[in-house]
Each structure stands twice: as C-alpha cells, then as structure tokens.
Symmetry: C2
Subunit: 587 residues, 2 copies
Amino acid sequence: MIGRTHMNGHVTEDVIGQSVQLKGWVQKRRDLGGLIFLDLRDRTGIVQVVFQPENEQAHRLAESIRSEYVLDIKGNVVQRENPNPNMPTGLVEVVADEVVILNASKMTPFPISEEAEQTSEDLRLKYRYLDLRRPSLQETFRLRSKASNIMRNFLDEQDFLEVETPILTKSTPEGARDYLVPSRVHPGEFYALPQSPQLFKQLLMVSGFERYFQIARCFRDEDLRADRQPEFTQVDIETSFMDVEDLYAMMESMMTRVMKETLGKDIVTPFPRMPYAEAMSRFGSDKPDTRFGLELIDVAEAVKGAGFKVFDMALEAGGEVKALNVKGAADNFSRKDIDKLQEFTAIYGAKGLAWVKVTPDGLNGPIAKFFDEAAVARLIAATEAEAGDLLVFVAAKASIVADSLGALRQKLAKELGLIDETVFNFLWVTDFPLVTFEEEDGRFYANHHPFTMPRREDLDKLETDPGNVLAVAYDLVLNGYELGGGSQRIYERDIQERMFKLLGFTEEEANEQFGFLMEAFEYGTPPHAGIALGLDRLIMLLAGRTNLRDTIAFPKTASASDLLTAAPSPVSDAQLNELSIRTAVKQ
Amino acid sequence: MIGRTHMNGHVTEDVIGQSVQLKGWVQKRRDLGGLIFLDLRDRTGIVQVVFQPENEQAHRLAESIRSEYVLDIKGNVVQRENPNPNMPTGLVEVVADEVVILNASKMTPFPISEEAEQTSEDLRLKYRYLDLRRPSLQETFRLRSKASNIMRNFLDEQDFLEVETPILTKSTPEGARDYLVPSRVHPGEFYALPQSPQLFKQLLMVSGFERYFQIARCFRDEDLRADRQPEFTQVDIETSFMDVEDLYAMMESMMTRVMKETLGKDIVTPFPRMPYAEAMSRFGSDKPDTRFGLELIDVAEAVKGAGFKVFDMALEAGGEVKALNVKGAADNFSRKDIDKLQEFTAIYGAKGLAWVKVTPDGLNGPIAKFFDEAAVARLIAATEAEAGDLLVFVAAKASIVADSLGALRQKLAKELGLIDETVFNFLWVTDFPLVTFEEEDGRFYANHHPFTMPRREDLDKLETDPGNVLAVAYDLVLNGYELGGGSQRIYERDIQERMFKLLGFTEEEANEQFGFLMEAFEYGTPPHAGIALGLDRLIMLLAGRTNLRDTIAFPKTASASDLLTAAPSPVSDAQLNELSIRTAVKQ
C-alpha cells in the first residue's frame, strides 16, 4: 500500500466522493453500534475514519487497533451524518476499504494532547518524542522554522552571506564559562565551544565580507535558569561600513517582516529608543516592558527632610527614594498582601517596602504620620496620586531601588491585568555604560564584551573615569525581554589594547588570548558593527509561551541533562586514554 | 563622511557625471606624472580612483596610502582616458575630492590576489582573514551561502521543517571516534558532539514531524585526510511514509535547482542508478566517476589456463583478473612509466601490474609470450583492443583488484585528459551490502550505520548469511565523489535488536546505548527514510575546487589545529578543576 493521496487535514467536503489513501496515527478509537470510528492524525490535522461491519476483514483488524497505532488506510470520503463544524474535516468521514497496521503502540505514558501539560515535565522530557506529537508543540516548531526562513531570506535579499564559523574554537576565559573539548592529537590541550561567533564574525569583516549572518549555535556552561539553556541559537549579524542608524532601520524591517509573516501583526517603525539611564530610572530595568505604565517615580524632592528617617538616611548616603503608584489599588491590598510584596522586593535587596494609601482625606498607612501637609502635597503631585491609589516606596542605593521596584512593577502589572498580551512593543535601549566595576573582584567588567567601541567623545575618560564612558551599544527589547544586542566594534589596535588594560589584562594575557585579533586590526580592518538576536527567545515570544524549553526540540533540564538519551554519561577508559585525560571525581 | 552611494563594482559608464561616495580597500597604488591612481576594492569589485595634484589636501594624503588601507572616498565619475575593457568598471575612473583613511595596513605577508596560492598554506591559514580577501575565495563563500539558501527554500516549499538538534549529545562508541565534552554539573560524565543528527532525526519522525531537514554541523575525531575536517556540515533530511522512489525524485529536483541557480547548468533527471556490485565490478569503486569510460574488464575467461601462472593462481584462489584498456596509449608509456603505475597500484595492495601493448602484429610486452593465438584473440575480443592500445592487468582478490584498478582508472583519466570538467554526472548507487565482516576484529560492521533497514526479502538471512543481506541504502555520487547517502531505517524493535546482535552488541550494551530509540519504536513509529548530503563537498565540486578547506571559512589543518586562533590550546587548572578532570599527558 505505497502512496498517499491526501494529508488528513485536507480531507474536506471538497473531496467527497473520492477514494483516498491516508497515513497517520490513531488519536482515538470509538465503537458505536457495530461501527468502529478512528480519528486519524497526521501533521496537518485529524480526519474521522469509519469501519463498517460489512467489510469484515478491515473491521476485524480495526478491532485490534489502539491509540497511537500507525496506519495506512484506503477508503472513500462521504458526508458525515453527525457533522462536527468545529474541525476543518468535520463535515466528512472516510469509509475504510483497507487498512494496514504499519506499527503498533503501547499505551503512552501520558495523553497525546494538551492535557499532557498536567504530567511532570521530567516524564515528558524522557518521552520527548511523544510530547512533541502535541499539535501546539508541532505548531511552535513550524513557527520556528518559518521565522528562521523569513529572516534568512530577508538577509539574503540584503546581500548578506551566511558563513558558518567553527564550533571547535579557542577557549577565552573572559565572559561566561566555556565548554571544553579535549584534543586527542594535541594531548593536554582543549578546544572550547563558542559562546558566540563574535571573534570570527569580526575576522570576516577584516576579510572584506562586509555583510555576514549566521543562525548560529552558541554554548555557555552556566547554572541554568528557566530561560537559559546550555546551547542556544542566535541570529548573528555583522556589517562593515554601515552606520548604526542604517543597522537599526534594517533590523526594524526584518522584525516587521517576521511579525507580519508569522503572526499577521503590523508593527510600527521606527522603534522607540531609550537611553540605558532613562530605562533604569523610569522602569528599573535595562529591558523595560513598555506595554504598561506603572513607572518608577523619583520622590526624593517630595520626601526629603519630611522626617521619615529611613528615607532621609538613604538620600544622605547617596541613594534614592522611588515610588510606584498602583492606581486604584488601595482597597485591593490588605496589610497582609503588602507584606507579601515586601517579601518579594526583599529578594532584590530592598530592606523594606514603605507604603501609604491615598484617601480623600490625605494619606493613610504606617508612614503617613511623617508627612506634613506640604510634604503630602508634594508627594501627591509627584506621583499624580488620587484617592484610592496605593503608593509603595523603596529607599536604598540606586541599583537596589531599580531592581526591586522594577521587578515589583512587572509582578503587579501581571497580577493586576495591566498587560495587553496582544501587543508587541519593540524598543531600542542605547547608550550603555561601557564597563561596570565589580566590587567583589575589584575590577571592571565589560557590559557587553571587550570588543565594544567606546563613544569617540568618551575615549579620553577610558583611563581616568572609565565608569562614565558610554559604549556605542544597543539592545533590542521586546515586551520586557532582551531579544538581542549589539554594538559598534573596536577596530583599532591601540583602543583594543587600552580596553584590555582597563579590564585588567596584562599585555601578555591580552596577546596570548586575543593577539590574532589585534594583529588583524593592523591589516586594514574596516569599521564594523553588528547585532545578535536570541532565536529561542524570539520564538518563545512569538508563540506566546513562557518556557524556553518549548522552543527547543530536545532541550536540557536545569542540571543540563538530556533525559531522553541520558546525556551526559560515563564514557570508557579507552576513550579517556585516547584523549589523555582522567576524571578526578571527588568522593 | 558617513554614507556610501555605490558599491565599487557598480561604478560603470552609467554613473558618469555623478558624484559618488565609495568605501573599500586599496588593491594597489601607482604614481604617474603627478597623478596618483588607486584601485579601490570592495566585495563587488574594483574601481580606479585618481588624485589630481590640484586637490592638494587629498593628493598629499594619498601619498601616504599603501596597499590594503581602508578608505572612504568622495569623488566624481568621469570617462577614463585609457579604458580597460577587461573590467566592468574599466571605462571610468573616480576623480577624488575627499579621502578619509579609515584604517591603515602593514605590508601583508602575501599578496591579496590569486598569486597567494604560491604561499605556504600554513601561512595563509594563520592569516586566514587576509587569504579570504581573495576574490576567488569570496566567490566560493557566496556560492556556498547561495546553494544553502536554494536548498533551504526548496525544502521549505516541499513542506519540510528545519529543526535544530542538539550539539551536546550522548556518546555512542559505534561509528567514528567521538569528540567529548566533560560535564561540570555531573562530574565524571561527558557529552559527545554528534557525528550526525541520525538518532534525533529518527526521533523527530517518531514525533510525527514527517518531513525534517537541517543544515547540520557534525563532528568526527578521525585522522584527517585532504578531504576531511573535524567538523563538517551536512544537509540532513528525513521523511516518514515516503517511498524511496519519491525521495530519489525529490533529491533530483533539488539538485537540478541547485545546479541551475548556481552554475546555470541543466542536468538530466532521473539520475542513472547502479547497484553497488555493478559499480565495484565495472569501476572498482562504490562512487564511480562516470564522466569517462576506461572501465574494468573481467578477462578471467580470456586468460584462464593460458599459462601465465600469476593469473591462474589468482583465479584458482577465488580471485579475479581484470584489465584496463588504455586506448591508444601504447606509445605514450615507456617501461619506466609503467613501473610508476605499478608503484601506484601497489599502494592499494596489488602485488604486480601486468601489461601488454597491442600492435598490428599481436601483443608485445613481458607477458605476451604466455598467450597463444586463441588466447590473444579472446583477450582482444574481451577488451575490444586495437593496435596502439595499452592493456594493464591486476590479478588478486576482488577487493584489491577493485581498489587498485579503480584508483588507476581515475589517475590515468586525469593524466590523459579523458575527463570533461564541465560535466556533472550524478549517479545513485544502490543495493549496498548491509554489513561487512572485518577480519581483524572478527566481527561484522554496518556499512552505513546500525539503523539501516535490511531488505525485507533478506531478513531471513540476517543470522544465517548476514554477509549477503542487502540494505535499502543508497549513495548519491557526483563525478567520483560520494555526495551523500541514506537509507530506509529500521522502525521495528525486533529488527533493531537483531541488528545490534549481529553487530556484536550484548543485549545490555544495546539497551545502555540505544534503549531510548528501541523504546521509541514501541510507541507508534512510522516507516521512515532519509539522506544526508555533504555540503562542504558539494560546494567544492560546484566551485571546481579540489581542497575541502577552500569551502570552509575557518578550516583546521591535518592535525586538527586552527592556526589563526591557535586552537586547541592549554587551559587553566581552575577550568579543569571545575570540570573534575585532569590531563594525563605522557612525558
């Protein structure tokens, strides 16, 4: 029974009267008054097949058929007696002539339907091949393939070449932790899996490719959170001679096409832009979700000297006092509810969450007593508060105020239903500081990476005031997620050397690790800039999902295990001997 | 001077009279009668720029400019006094108004031109970014990007989904040597880099994706030959329910489109097919180059009992005697030349290379005396020999006859100019033996891999006569290169178990390594088949190159080193400690 005339989802009333041959999986079987009904599923959908007792042979075989059996069926399409208008094939059914069982199936450990979500994720990851049969996951991977193809074709039209860069590369300790690969041919030496193709794409610019892209696999051996995977995919782009404005415009065109051709959404360009400092100040985040307000309000001027010691002390120490005005929420939040908010902000280092409720008669709450009439007026004006509003405050150093109120803002918006989930708000965040001083290590770290170009006008400050040097760097933010980021790159050896020095590299270390790049800069390197977008995250947002694992066919768990194939796993001593390594497992 | 109005290769007579802004690299500088001429190169080509002494500032700057400087130039396009009709921009030149040196360049270690081929490859690999500036390499990577895109779009139209499979996978010792990646989270355990996505693509078929493809990176830690790289790329395809005939037809359509849209070549479909046994017999190769004749001729019947002991002994031992008829070459090959051919065939295990020259009067040469008139007549008839032909013979066991004469056939064809390099001969080689017995190890090995389906009609012989079981496997051959291969896959647990047993796995080993696959077969696995094409090799053939490294942007040497970044390299003890491994380098 070779051959297939139709996909199951396409067997509609247009096909009535035709004989068809179908293949697929049994979604379910029902026996009804001597008739046997099967729902036959393939990647396009489900069609109902009926076995009549008159066709003894097929009917007898059908009796043995269970869910998830794989069948090859010949039959005739007829109008259904009890149509189901809710499915595309609901007006017809296929009267089976012949059936061949291509493969049987045991009872699956969880149902092949959206109900599977009720099952533990570990079990679903072990049987990933069954979980992937769910139509919603199939749809996500269809979306992923389509979105990748849209971007590839867009970049191809823009004269970009896709160039594959190595996976077996050199270990460069700066940045996240590398995955290492022992070399057999060079005992005691190791390759590293790339955290990104950064150096290679810059070298391609040195080579004069001018426009490079790659949908590239990247690797980071970090402790995993819900939105991290040890291997991930980025849409990696680099251009020479291109102005940053042109790069923005090009990325906006690309995202416009992706949104239109995947979700049918029109989005507005150019995307708004916001300097990093403003994003931190107004939203407490460098990737603000701009689908709702609830911004952080600086109330320092309003509360200074009013007599609430906690506020005054924070300000005197150089910190901030900021508030969220939770509009109309005064009555919805009990003291206990607010205690819970306080516990939440404590995660982000806030020692307390002060609050007042706004009533027609003034302020109400534990700290209301500290504010005289003038102070209340200032506070009301600053927060644009009205009767019924809840004001919450954090007083601390700037980073804690931002982190805690930024997170609280997001949490409250979700709980209060302030977010329009149908909206896609793209945003460029710009003007990042080049480096951040980490007190723990007593050194500066690059905010993006060591190859990011400082603003020309800030070059003078690179040695004297590095904390205030801004980078020509930009992040693309979507609905509160960092979709990607990029920068102009350093292309002059002396600036690159100064940068490494700032990051605490000795000259020897810099040369040992990045000498080849700095040497390349001496052979006619063009100005270049680029960007990388996280494909997994983009697909997660397009698919309206919240779990990155749903966008990766064979994802790993939080402990970086593949539960399906049981990787990682022990290997033989012979393998280790060939690689000149031994394991040194602490007992 | 932001902005760029034209690409250099597009500054033709259509642009005369316009003011342009160009960017690029200086190919060369010439000073002539006060004028300074620069050839300015970008990815599209070269245009001549002239600096007139009247424009003092620009002229003075131009005096400092050397080869490979990166420039930003504004000027006016004029008709050239001494046109060069050999280049697209040869009728015009750009009179420079302004010039900005974007970056300088030291003298490059080798010229940025095709003459670089004269330089040692190691030096060119160290400065790969300079070698990649050569137009012919740029063109190869443009071709690679384009061919990939053509195949992607073709497969997309055929409703294939591109699904990314993991790079951090499980080590499965069967097959080539794995690259291993120590796990930090699971001390003493390792991931392996995939030799191919074979298991994952089969699992995607179990998942009901039905049509999968991926342009996938694969890894093999093998000793490298000229046409091998530790990491390589394959166009990986898998389908469910698809008949092998349909798969052939689809691949033929895809290759037709690739050939047409990259090289403008029309190729004929369907591709010819040849069983493995016939390919070995006629061409001494399972990937025969069918662009020329010079086939292996079985002369056993002609020479048997004629009195030449070497031939008779080989035949009596169950071996073969085969000949090549090198048409009209008798006069071109001296005894010394033939000695060299003999040395060549010795590499492939042939103990000797017998030969005769055909003259108008009969045979001439050391073994001529063994043949009486009847034997000569039989030999002439079998080889269709004419006066002036050279016949060479190998007598040995079949595999040595095939290997040595197959290689000699290819060598002679190249040297004698028998190959039409403009022809692309595709060929399906089919009906491969499922397994081969390796005398050294005393066991059977899978010819493709352990997941290849035996022919149904041969299943009975799987235990009793495995050496004569044929597989439903096929290779796609192009001009003597194996472009790719594939097979129907086993999808029933019991057949897979029998296969592992045949390959010497204990039940425990089979379950330990591939238990998840065999378990998957019990949950409704559809019949499926697939193929994988070597992208690097395809591009090599399309580009008319002979070195696989020319098709890979950052290739590795024969000792698997990246000379540019100096990978692999030692890593810190801290890194090794985190991974719970130590190096154990023999001193």
